[in-house]
Symmetry: C2
Subunit: 187 residues, 2 copies
């Protein structure tokens, strides 16, 4: 099913690390394209993440509001978090959902997996749909996280994306998917 | 319309740069939350980007296929590119569309603006809808870019996202938006 586009491929000639951080690393790759032309590519390495579209029986998505230092503001997002080394995406998704919302889900389904910004970063997000929600034990919440849960009706998701109240990429991917699945429109 | 969530906000106490690169910088911010708790946040600074959902009169989106070194593979994406210093997003969108596809558009509309991965990076993408397409002059193509144009019918976009042939976040945001707008489903 996947065609290999040989004429578009680039070969890595050498790699050197420019920065090693807590969450990300930065490396510079020297590459050669199919025409023999050399170039340097700056690559941010990220461990990858999961995100959870949790939908309750009233067709509301359970979102969380939290401060995001890179954005310099409080954003409304679906529950999400970085993969621990060796962690399975689904196990990570279950962990993040309960840590951030206190919810468990009886029905899980992988929606898709996508790069957040493949021009400079290798981060991949595994996106899951979680349904048949119930309250888990409160003690599993991560005390490090200062977040607030908020249920958003899918009937209002389109207007909240359009007016910028929701402005996180993975959350837009998830909510538009839910709108398509459950026949809501941008309105 | 935008409520300020004081109890969720964090204050920046100090900042230091850990890496300054060609496209991105990395800094570490020391922050204090509303409960007085200190933490360090690693932040990747990116200049921001634009992306263009170009839809022709046959309801096809014009995508481009190119090697992405961070992904280590050839990806199918909507035309996009980084903002130059001081560049207006719409001017950048016009420039990227013609550089990557040779196309001009008579009708432009901003769809939305979103963070690609606000947990660690400040990159924002301004997403535009471009319609009434026509061929521009070929000489404006950027010779640095080894890319291949490909028209994807909106009727097939859902299946291509679902099976992973399209696995770039901004492209999924754009195509799902077009599907919702023009009443295509995941099928």
């Amino acid at each position: 099913m996947f065609i290999i586009y040989e004429e578009l491929k680039e070969k890595t000639i050498s790699t050197s690390y420019l920065y090693r951080g807590k969450i990300i690393n930065v490396r510079q790759d020297r590459v050669k394209d199919a025409r023999g032309k050399d170039a340097f590519r700056e690559v941010v390495e990220h461990p990858g993440a999961v995100a959870v579209l949790a939908v309750n029986e009233s067709d509301e998505a359970v979102l969380v509001r939290q401060h995001r230092q890179p954005a310099g503001e409080v954003l409304l997002e679906i529950p999400a978090g970085k993969l621990e080394p060796g962690e399975e995406p689904l196990a990570c998704a279950r962990r993040e959902l309960i840590e951030e919302t206190g919810l468990k889900a009886a029905a899980w389904q992988e929606i898709n997996c996508f790069y957040t910004s493949p021009g400079f970063c290798d981060e991949k997000i595994y996106l899951f749909l979680a349904e048949n929600l119930s309250k888990g034990t409160a003690s599993t919440a991560d005390p490090e996280e200062n977040i607030r849960e908020e249920a958003v009706p899918l009937s209002r998701a389109g207007e909240m994306i359009a007016d910028g109240r929701i402005r996180d990429g993975k959350t837009i991917v998830a909510l538009q998917y839910a709108m398509l699945l459950k026949k809501y429109t941008y309105g």
